[in-house]
Amino acid sequence: MADTQIAPEPGTRAGAGPGGPRAAKRKGLSERALARVFVAPSVLLMALVALFPVIWAIVISLFLYTRRQQTGFGGLENYTDALTSGRFWDSVWFTFVFTVSSVTFEFLIGLGFALLMNQAFRGRGVTRAAILVPWVIPTVIAAQMWFFMFNVTPGFINNLLGLGNFNWLGQPGWPIFAVVFADVWKTAPFVALLLLAGLQTIPGDVYESARVDDAGMFQRFWFITMPLLKPAILVALLFRTVDALRVYDLPAVMTQGAFGTESLAILVREFVVRTPNPGFGAALSTLTFILVLGVGMIFVILLGRDLVIGTEGEE
């Protein structure tokens, strides 16, 4: 739409001005003004709630504490302490392993679910609801449930698989598996839901023409579905990744962070709540934030290329 109309006027600052787009003069708000009006409420609301505590945390992170008592200004000391502690890097490593493995499986399984839910068959509605069940259960309870399932006592999984007293949560290596498994079970439906909605917006006639061209099923999927689904995939991966990077409940309930399953969020909580040191806790939070934001930015840029550049060029 606007591409052709507005593009030749790069100097325009605000749409409402005299040089604004022709459409704007004709009726109502100009597109530029409308854009601002549309963006303002969200930005205001988010800024009002989030800005103060984030800035507060960043300021606090520059101060030194003995437990809850402030002892002075420390500059970046909390940060250097965190970055030189083995515990921090251990938790970064676990968080990284957890994120990569859980997001990978969630994506694959979620995509499978979405393709299935997208098909027409009897009982589809019920299947869709059933697939969403794991995700609807509150995380804290799901974590307790999987602790119960995996733990030697009462040992549901061991009982089911005839594994005797296999100690899933009490020996090196396996606790990570259990936590990832529980997370995949819990959140694959989230990915599925987003991808399903994405699949539904792919116009049917695209497939029609592909069928006429006699494209195979796999080819159709790879060359037609995937590219059109890409934005939905990126959004799903983005939010799964940033959430997985901040995982708390599952390892906290299932393993208490034992056997190398201490996530960054557990570490942060440790210094905010359990052994309070507000400065160090805030520094850890800020580091986590930077890390998560860094990863998030990769997705934003990928997404941005896809979606936004077209309209951004108009400026």
Binding site: N151, G170, T255, V273, T275
Partner: protein, 420 residues
């Protein structure tokens, strides 16, 4: 076009609902304390309606209509309780007058200047209270929290499988293994997951070897690396010999369920398990179990870590005098203290109650055990100490680290806590 209109209607309807919701939260006007009403922030099952804390609060309110007390129910988990109290206290909001504080929080709370000193009622309390529980209320030589209920570990054992309870840990492990394999069940269950309960269990071994953490006024570290290594090595060996499978992921309830389900010969647990097993007539352990003091390594005496809750007065209370009277009353009134035992099987802290309840097997054993029980140091650093111990000792007993260097790590940390 029909579709589109329906959708817009949906959105408009939704908007209406949003406005409606925004308009009103149901009135919560009971926040304002009228007159002298006090708020007692305490958690767990006994704070719920029908629990013994409620009974005691009602009894106080009847007798003191000018300064009645109301319970704000905190969650069950100790960390959560502490966090909710901390938010109120950190903000100096004064929402709570009386605080139910775990025995290990005394130092931390007093260091934060969250508590009112109880020195002026110290004499009355000290005179009637068991020494162990009394010590948990003291930090820096001053009384900050009035003892309320205590707790100590028991050895539960199956009377149909063994005759007399062992008096040393080594003997216990051996008997457990033999009797367990003869019966096809596990030997010993306890609290071995990586959490505070593990520290308690480990300390009972360490203290049972004669080890100490600090001297009396906590100015000097007495931590013995040699004994600590032995304690950890004992656990490491027991993990493959007599501990039940899953010992290292088990907390109080996992242990109780195994024992109650007839899957273990011995159990280390708090007194709460007694009545639950006794009431469960379908349990193989029912009628076939008894309790004994926890063993040591020398065979002499018994040792247990102390648990329980004290009552403290918030420094931000508007009603400190009445609150003080309340905590004094709860600590020293024989009826209140007896109610804890008879209504809730919570171990009282008042010495004389145990004489009166000597017929009750749990209370009579508690009377014996509590006089030997040791508090974890109620230092401000206790949480950090506990976390350090968990992170060093848990991997060590699970074969993921060297017990000696783990002990040295703990020693180094403890040494950093004195003299600051």
């Amino acid at each position: 076009m029909k579709t589109r209109r329906t959708f817009s209607t949906w959105i408009s309807l939704a908007g209406g609902f949003a406005l409606l919701a925004a308009a009103c939260t149901p009135g919560g006007d009971d926040d304002e304390a009228e007159g002298g009403e006090m708020v007692w922030a305490i958690g767990g099952s006994e704070a719920q309606v029908g629990g013994v804390h409620q009974t005691i609060a009602e009894r106080w309110s009847e007798a003191n209509p000018d300064n009645p007390i109301r319970i704000e129910i905190l969650p069950e988990a100790a960390d959560e309780q502490r966090e909710q109290q901390a938010l109120d206290l950190q903000a100096e909001a004064g929402g709570f007058d009386v605080l139910g504080v775990d025995v290990i929080w005394t130092g931390e709370y007093s260091e934060n200047e969250w508590l009112e000193s109880l020195e002026d009622i110290r004499g009355d309390i000290e005179a009637v209270t068991l020494p162990g529980p009394f010590e948990t209320g003291i930090w820096g030589g001053e009384l900050w929290a009035a003892p309320y209920n205590s707790n100590a570990g028991f050895l539960y054992y199956r009377t149909d499988l063994i005759d007399t309870p062992p008096t040393t840990w080594e003997e216990l492990c051996q008997v457990a293994e033999e009797a367990g394999s003869a019966e096809g069940i596990a030997g010993f269950v306890g609290q071995g997951a990586q959490y505070e309960g593990f520290v308690v269990n480990w300390l009972e071994y360490y203290w049972g070897l004669g080890g100490e953490l600090y001297n009396e006024d906590q100015s000097e570290v007495l931590f013995d690396v040699e004994l600590a290594t032995q304690a950890t090595e004992f656990m490491a060996d027991a993990l493959s010999d007599c501990y039940a499978p899953g010992f290292n992921t088990s907390m109080e309830e996992e242990a109780r369920n195994e024992f109650q389900g007839g899957n273990a010969v011995f159990m280390r647990n708090w007194p709460y398990a007694y009545s639950l097993i006794q009431e469960d007539t379908g349990s193989p352990a029912n009628e076939n179990f008894d309790i004994a003091p926890l063993p040591t390594f020398t065979g002499q005496g018994t040792i247990s870590a102390l648990g329980g809750f004290n009552n403290a007065v918030s420094a931000f209370s508007n009603n400190k005098e009445a609150a003080k009277e309340f905590v004094l009353w709860a600590a020293t009134d024989p009826e209140v203290q007896a109610t804890l035992a008879t209504e809730a099987s919570l171990p009282p802290t008042m010495a004389s109650v145990y004489d009166d309840l000597a017929d009750d097997p749990v209370m009579s054993l508690l009377g014996e055990v509590l006089s030997e029980a040791k508090p974890r140091p109620p230092a401000p650093q206790w949480n950090e100490i506990s976390v350090t111990m968990q992170r060093a000792l848990y991997p060590a007993y699970n074969g993921e680290g060297d017990p000696r260097s783990a002990a040295e790590e703990v020693l180094a940390f403890l040494e950093g806590t004195v003299g600051n």
